[in-house]
Symmetry: C2
Subunit: 143 residues, 2 copies
DNA sequence: CTATTAAGTTATAGTAACTCGAAGATGGTT
DNA sequence: AACCATCTTCGAGTTACTATAACTTAATAG
């Protein structure tokens, strides 16, 4: 069976060795072993689980909640309903998060287009009604 | 002209008063005034700018970079090309972030469906090949 | 006209989730 | 034997809030 060092795991997951150790120290990787030198030894399933942790983390779940979820998984089948609820909530939150990001993206796009236009037309300081927004709504006091 | 207190701004933007003050103290709201009592006085354009800050923050830009962008806006038209580049980068990063979130969402959906199935079928501990993944890839050592 | 309440202020401390550096152990190579 | 890479722990630093304490001021209630 394949085993991996911290560094190999870091490389495989895209995390830093610091983060991998941090997660392990905080109980998020409950089955990671140690060799006779006290070095962490990761299995393939540890890496898969770490990827699940990363998935939850990236979608905004705090570490203590991920820890809680980890404990439930370790406890076994009895906790499936609770786990189901956790994942359902996380799904909702992620869908919401994506929606919000898409709205923010629209705002950013607007800015990009606006700047592109200014640079093309090369107009220094217009008197159009859109002027306030052109100036990022920052200079209403410059009267 | 309409003016607002910290609390009103907090309510309008969905931020806490702590965060609004924090942003102001760190130079992200350069045109906020003070009244004779030293209380912060926000204008409509301050709120609009704060919403821009929130947009950038929510899409992952660190505060010091937002501060830098703020300074560029204050400096005026000459900085438009630099600002254009910043926004273009942010746009790219946000598009990427959304993509990643959508992938994570797919993973979460998979879990939700999986748990739903377990709960429906009520099978305690199957011997199927998918067993490892059913158990969140955590118990390969429990042999 | 004082008393209490509400809201503002600053300064400082606490928290989450990393992020890093120091000091030391071990194992392999020249 | 010396060196280098890689591991370890521990403690400190960073970012972006988040909360508390101590204080000031303005408005209302008795």
């Amino acid at each position: 069976m394949a085993t991996y060092s911290v560094q190999q795991v870091a490389k495989k997951t895209g995390l830093t060795t610091y983060t991998v150790r941090y997660y392990h120290d905080h109980g998020l990787l409950p089955f990671v072993q140690r060799d006779k030198n006290n070095n962490r030894v990761f299995s393939d399933s540890d890496i898969e689980w770490l990827e699940m942790v990363t998935c939850l983390r990236s979608t905004g779940m705090p570490l203590d909640q991920i820890k809680n979820y980890t404990n439930l998984v370790v406890e076994g089948e009895d906790t499936v309903p609770e786990r189901y609820q956790i994942m359902l909530d996380q799904q909702k939150r992620t869908i919401n998060e994506i929606k919000e990001l898409q709205q923010h993206l629209a705002t950013i796009k607007f800015k990009v287009d606006h700047y592109a236009e200014i640079m093309e037309n090369h107009e220094p300081d217009s008197f159009e009604p859109s002027n306030i927004h052109e100036k990022e709504s920052l200079k209403t006091e410059a009267k």
